[in-house]
């Protein structure tokens, strides 16, 4: 065990090429997934917060419930969708990083939509009447609320990044954990541990832990820097 730790740090210190490749792919997949999820979730969250329409309350309950979506269920659903006989089999996404990005996007979307909705609800309640009294139209109100929410939305993004980076079940199913193709940190840790290659798994675990700490420290910094005015 002690030697495993030492070996893990040695691998990190010499920038082991396999290790670096897996880390970079993990960051690329998770970053892309969070970017796509935010692109879809923020307007959706704003819509849920500010536009009244029939069934909105039910949709809010659904989105909140999906925050706890089991990753393996998402993985299974996408597997069926992307497999050769699936509805989207023609895209040939299965066992590619694209499929992993889609899986993580599906997992991050409800988190980003639900948290951002709450941010927009609070700020809209705070600013709507004031901006209307100044003569602002709906579009101007929405843009102003977006801008005022930017810090809180960054926190939402970081929360999504945390979820994406630590996810294993879905990417394992749709990515297949193929060496040099779809192997990311979480799936590699699972595999190397089962093989008994603890040093490699621990090196990845250290990096994953470090990334998690960085993300959480950033969230904590933003909360403090904003005078406690963050809405998530």
């Amino acid at each position: 065990m002690d030697n495993g730790f030492l070996d893990a740090f040695r691998m990190l210190a010499r920038f082991d090429p396999d290790l670096v490749e897996i880390i970079l792919l993990s960051i690329k997949v998770s970053f892309s997934a969070v970017a796509v999820a935010l692109l879809l979730a923020l307007p959706f969250g704003a819509l849920l917060a500010t536009w009244p329409f029939p069934g909105r309350r039910a949709l809010v309950v659904l989105v909140n419930a999906l925050m706890g979506l089991p990753p393996v269920v998402v993985g299974l659903g996408l597997y069926l969708l992307f497999s050769h006989r699936g509805a989207l089999g023609v895209l040939e996404f299965l066992y590619t990083p694209t499929a992993m990005i889609v899986a993580q996007t599906v997992l991050v979307f409800p988190i980003a939509a639900s948290l951002s909705r709450q941010v927009f609800v609070d700020l809209h309640a705070q600013y709507d009447e004031m901006l209307r009294s100044l003569g602002a139209n709906k579009w101007q109100i929405l843009l102003t609320v977006f801008w005022e929410a930017r810090r809180s939305l960054l926190t939402v993004a970081l929360a999504g990044m945390g979820r994406a980076l630590s996810e294993v079940g879905a990417v394992m199913i749709v990515g297949g954990n193929i060496d040099h193709v779809t192997r990311v940190m979480t799936t590699a840790i699972a595999l190397e541990t089962s093989k008994g290659s603890l040093a490699f798994a621990m090196a990845l675990g250290i990096v994953l832990l470090a990334l998690s700490v960085i993300v959480n420290a950033a969230v904590s910094f933003l909360r403090t820097d904003n005078g406690g005015a963050v809405h998530v």
């Binding site: 500010t50 600013y127 100044l134 003569g135 602002a136």
Partner: protein, 249 residues
């Protein structure tokens, strides 16, 4: 969040009522079987400052919000001078400011008012000067004192050059010095040609500022009159009791 209803607005006839900028006729607003505004009717002249005075819970703020178009009454009629609907600004009792500097708050208001970009910094500084806030222009708005925030809110409302400025208890919970500064700003605003309608429960403040008074009690108008007459000899029993600091029956 439900969409506000559209208030039935009508244009005042300039020939019939040349001195009236705003008229409420039988405006009623009911919530949970309680009439918060009960057939409220009054004319507001186009000049000077008009105080909407009354005890807490009289319906003063509600009346102001109805005038501003933020709340739709259940029934009644609101007549406004031509173009006034889009030419009013409301300042809330508690300042609501954006999380940016004092100057940036004004520049944002000027942007909403469609002032050309190149003119905004200069106009923002003029408004800051009007509120004696030029020295604090770059300070975050949330770091200003309560009185400074309220002054900033008032000049921000002036960014759209409103014909009518609505002030909802602008000095509530402010110290005498800040109150004096707000009242000074209100007078300056009036002298610049803007009609000021303000809500207050402060008898002395209404006496200092108002040229006309509308007294409200339990959602009903009990008196609409010129200020000197009102403060010398209020006609309604509710206003007389209020003047003497007695409980209004």
């Amino acid at each position: 969040m439900s969409e506000p209803k559209i208030i039935p607005l009508h244009s005042l006839s300039a020939t019939d009522t040349p001195d009236v900028v705003l008229r409420l006729s039988d405006v009623t607003y009911t919530r949970r079987d309680e009439k918060l505004l009960d057939c409220v009717s009054f004319d507001i002249p186009s000049d000077g400052m008009t105080a909407i005075l009354g005890p807490n819970g009289a319906g003063k703020t509600l009346t102001l919000r109805v005038i501003a178009g933020l709340i739709a009454p259940d029934s009644g009629r609101i007549d406004m001078a031509d173009g006034l609907k889009d030419n009013m600004a409301l300042v809330f009792q508690t300042p609501v400011l954006l999380r940016r500097s004092a100057r940036a708050n004004l520049i944002h208001a000027l942007k909403i008012a469609r002032v050309p970009r190149r003119l905004r910094p200069r106009q923002a500084d003029e408004l800051l000067a009007l509120a004696d806030l030029l020295d604090l222009a770059d300070r975050p708005a949330c770091a200003l004192s309560g009185g400074e925030q309220q002054r900033l809110s008032i000049v921000r409302a002036l960014a759209r050059e409103p014909r009518v400025l609505l002030l909802d208890e602008p000095t509530a919970s402010l110290d005498p010095r800040s109150t004096a500064a707000i009242e000074r700003l209100a007078r300056r605003t009036m002298r610049l040609g803007t009609k000021v309608i303000f809500v207050t429960h402060d008898w002395a403040q209404a006496k200092r500022l108002a040229s006309g008074v509308i007294f409200l009690h339990r959602g009903q108008v009990t008196e609409v009159t010129r200020a000197p007459q009102f403060f010398d000899d209020p006609q309604s029993r509710a206003a007389r009791c209020y003047k003497l600091g007695r409980l209004i029956p």
